[in-house]
């Protein structure tokens, strides 16, 4: 499922930990792109790495319907399980695949390291126009485009409609209402909370929430990285969530953890703020919730001036190393814009990733059985919400490490040592030396 970041399960078994170490060692040690350039008249081979589920089905569909280009697909581990390092190391060794998948927050880092190819001049306007500008904006830096976005994930609020109705709790339209609904829910059902503040995975969630409030953790407008992970909008958002935590109105737990999932299943957690992909993820992981859940737009700070951030979403890049960039671009264009590709992806399971190509929405809507949400037109909702995504946001040059530093701080804040804002400040202070040593022009505000 695009956009769904299979996070490390903190409570995971020792075996997982061991395997991860081995995977890291393997990644550090070897592994090339396995490029097989064909000479002569045969099809051009394009190698493709992705951690997205359903990629194999998409590639199979492509190879079935195309003869001139043959795609050799390799499923790679998800980013935090070694996928990011694998791609970096392959690029460093000069044997990156022709096409790789990367999430939005990590794209600037790779663009700075020179892994993706600048596809600005290769990309036809007809393709560019079909993609929602908010998504294009996140893959374009200083007017140059480095990747094609496949899905964009407006933040929405999944909630237990049955519980909200039973206890007569209004579905919040603003963050002020969200807080009062949270209090009401806790009073009516003391073992239940309206949502979770994530520890692992929480920095990305905070980023989406701060994004909505108008924050700019990284501002690139004056040819320099202006870093301010504690700007005024972020402080507002952090203080708000800190209050919810301090008043015990939200759960504090790692995202994608067993405990979090158990709380969702039992109704002890009655809501989830996440990207559009979460709709499909919920259907797959909590089948017992059928008919109980519904999806609402994310609460707003000012309903008169609605704005939104995202959580999740992936892009496809043609690498600089690629020996067949034209063919590689043709393939990713097909993956992003073709109804066949979307259908193939959906055939592999439940996915509610919101496509960046708006004219594909009817396809997704037709393929997706939304009876889980009582037949709600969720893609209609996503479409309206996607329009609200703010274009002020830029991801930073080293987000993997910034995010993990932030998550460490949030985990400590979760056990009462430090605050959300301190976690974000710490993430910033741990990021700056890195950027400076890369020679980037950096200022703080």
């Amino acid at each position: 499922m695009p956009g769904q970041r299979p996070a490390v399960r903190r409570s995971g078994a020792a075996v997982t930990a061991l395997l991860t170490i081995f995977a890291m060692l393997l990644v550090a040690g070897c592994s090339g792109g396995g490029k097989s350039d064909s000479a002569g008249d045969g099809p051009v081979h394009v190698t493709f790495w992705s951690a997205l589920r359903g990629s194999q089905e998409v590639v199979d569909e492509y190879n079935r319907t195309h003869t001139k280009i043959k795609v050799d697909f390799e499923q790679v581990p998800s980013g935090d399980q070694g996928g990011w390092a694998k791609l970096s190391n392959a690029a460093r060794a000069g044997n990156a695949p022709d096409v790789a998948t990367i999430e939005y927050p990590q794209l600037p880092s790779y663009a700075i390291d020179g892994v993706p190819r600048d596809i600005t001049d290769m990309l036809p306007d007809s393709v560019r126009r079909r993609i929602i500008p908010q998504a294009m904006d996140l893959t374009t830096f200083e007017g140059r485009t480095y990747a094609l976005p496949v899905d964009i994930e407006p933040m929405v609020f999944l909630y237990r409609k049955d519980l909200f109705t039973k206890y007569d709790i209004p579905v919040p339209k603003t963050w002020a209402e969200f807080e009062s609904s949270a209090r009401k829910l806790k009073k009516a059902k003391p073992d239940s909370r309206i949502a979770s503040l994530f520890t692992t995975g929480g920095t990305l969630a905070m980023a989406g929430l701060a994004w909505q409030a108008g924050a700019q953790w990284y501002d690139t407008s004056d040819k320099s990285w202006t870093v301010s992970m504690d700007d005024a909008p972020t402080r507002k958002v952090a203080a708000y969530w800190q209050r919810l935590v301090d008043d015990d109105l939200v759960r504090v737990e790692p995202s994608s953890s067993q405990q979090w999932r158990a709380h969702l299943q039992s109704g002890e957690t009655a809501g989830w703020l996440a990207g559009a992909w979460a709709a499909g993820s919920m259907m797959a992981s909590t089948p017992g919730g059928k008919g109980k859940w519904a999806i609402a737009p994310s609460p707003q700070w000012d309903p008169e001036k609605p704005s939104l951030g995202t959580q999740g979403g992936s892009t496809f890049m043609v690498t600089k190393d690629s020996t067949h960039p034209e063919e590689a671009l043709e393939f990713i264009t097909w993956m992003v814009t073709s109804p066949d590709a979307l259908r193939a992806k959906l055939s592999s399971g439940v996915s509610s990733a919101y496509p960046t190509v708006t004219d594909l929405v009817p396809v997704a809507r037709k393929e997706m059985d939304t009876s889980y949400y009582g037949g709600q037109d969720i893609f209609g909702l996503f479409q309206r919400e996607a329009e609200l995504i703010s274009t002020r946001w830029k991801w930073g040059p080293r987000m993997v490490s910034t995010i993990s530093s932030g998550d460490d701080g949030l985990a400590r804040a979760g056990v009462g040592s430090g605050t959300i804002l301190e976690a974000l400040r710490e993430a910033q202070s741990k990021t700056l030396p890195d950027l400076k040593s890369l020679g980037l022009s950096v200022t703080t505000r």
């Binding site: 409570s11 020792a14 700075i112 390291d113 993990s404 741990k430 400076k436 020679g439």
Partner: protein, 322 residues
């Protein structure tokens, strides 16, 4: 050194041949051959696994990726001077790694020295029966590779998996080995488990070498077992104690395996918990080889300086004791 001087002696004891000059030449050739053969394996390994990597790290720390402005589209490798070093030294997370190490040492070194010394003294005193078996059982954990040991302990620490936690839970005691304040003791525990037996063997060997007449004299003077152990035996093997302290300190600076695995299980061990983890994180998560190399060189210098200081200090104490 003795291996090197042997050929010369042997050449001198051979009966006087006809032409002394030729023999001398032949002897010298033989000598040179011996030097080369004996030193070659060591030198080759030293160069291949120490000097070359260190040289490359130093190179990488001075010549690294550089970018203009926002840096998009890739950089180029240039001489960056001390930039990487300055960045490392200004990074609070690198410096705090040494803090973690210091705290770890404060807990670990006294425990491991006291523990293994105590065990060695007990074995030496003859109070323990089946001495060989006890020795082997205590040494066994050291034979388990560090990563396997860490995985086993992680299993015992992880809630939901650990039989230990389950056992405590049945007695209504909640115990969290991976919490904010318990995680460092948990790491120390792993290190103790594998280090105790090893250091005990060092102490035990030193104790075995004690002159028996000293112990006899102590006994005749009326010193009991405990007094003999603490006031006679321990001062005499002071050198071994210092050596174990020094090795433990240096090993602590290299701390990596245990916290790295713990990092997978709890956010309380962050990805830059120790200097070595910082280096790994810089190279493979931040993809910043200049930074990683500079940090490596700094760690190397600190380790060398510390070993040197400890050896000097120990040597001076030894001399003043005499």
């Amino acid at each position: 050194m003795s291996t090197v001087t042997t050929p010369r002696k042997r050449a001198g004891t051979t009966p006087p041949p006809a032409d002394p000059a030729r023999t001398r030449r032949a002897g010298r050739r033989q000598q040179r051959f011996a030097y080369v053969t004996l030193l070659a394996p060591f030198t080759a390994l030293l160069v291949a696994v120490f000097l070359v990597p260190v040289g490359y790290a130093v190179y990488l720390s001075f010549f690294s990726e550089d970018h203009d402005g926002l840096g998009f589209g890739g950089g180029r490798t240039i001489f960056t001077g001390l930039r990487s070093y300055l960045a490392v030294l200004q990074d609070p997370s690198f410096v705090s790694g040494f803090g973690s190490i210091a705290l770890y040492c404060v807990i670990f070194v006294p425990l491991v020295v006291a523990g293994s010394l105590g065990l060695a003294l007990l074995l030496d005193s003859g109070l323990i029966r089946l001495r060989r078996t006890a020795q082997m059982l205590l040494y066994l954990p050291h034979a388990v590779p560090g990563i396997i040991a860490a995985v086993i302990w992680l299993y015992l620490y992880t809630p939901g998996l650990s039989p230990v936690i389950k056992l405590f839970a049945e007695a209504d005691i909640t115990i969290d080995f991976l919490g904010l304040h318990t995680v460092l003791p948990s790491i120390v525990n792993i290190a103790l488990w594998s280090g105790l037996g090893y250091n005990m063997v060092i102490f035990y060997a030193a104790l075995q070498a004690l002159p028996r007449e000293v112990l006899e004299a102590a006994r005749i003077d009326g010193a009991g077992g405990v007094r003999t152990a603490l006031q006679v035996k321990v001062p005499i093997i002071r050198g071994s104690v210092l050596m174990v302290c020094m090795f433990s300190l240096i090993a602590a600076l290299q701390l990596f395996t245990e916290p790295m695995l713990m990092n997978q299980a709890t956010p309380m061990v962050n990805s830059r918990f120790t200097p070595n983890m910082y280096i790994y994180d810089a190279a493979f998560r931040r993809n910043n080889y200049g930074l990683a190399s500079a940090a490596s060189v700094i760690l190397l210098v600190v380790t060398c300086a510390l070993s040197f200081a400890v050896t000097r200090w120990a040597g001076r104490r030894e001399r003043s004791a005499k």
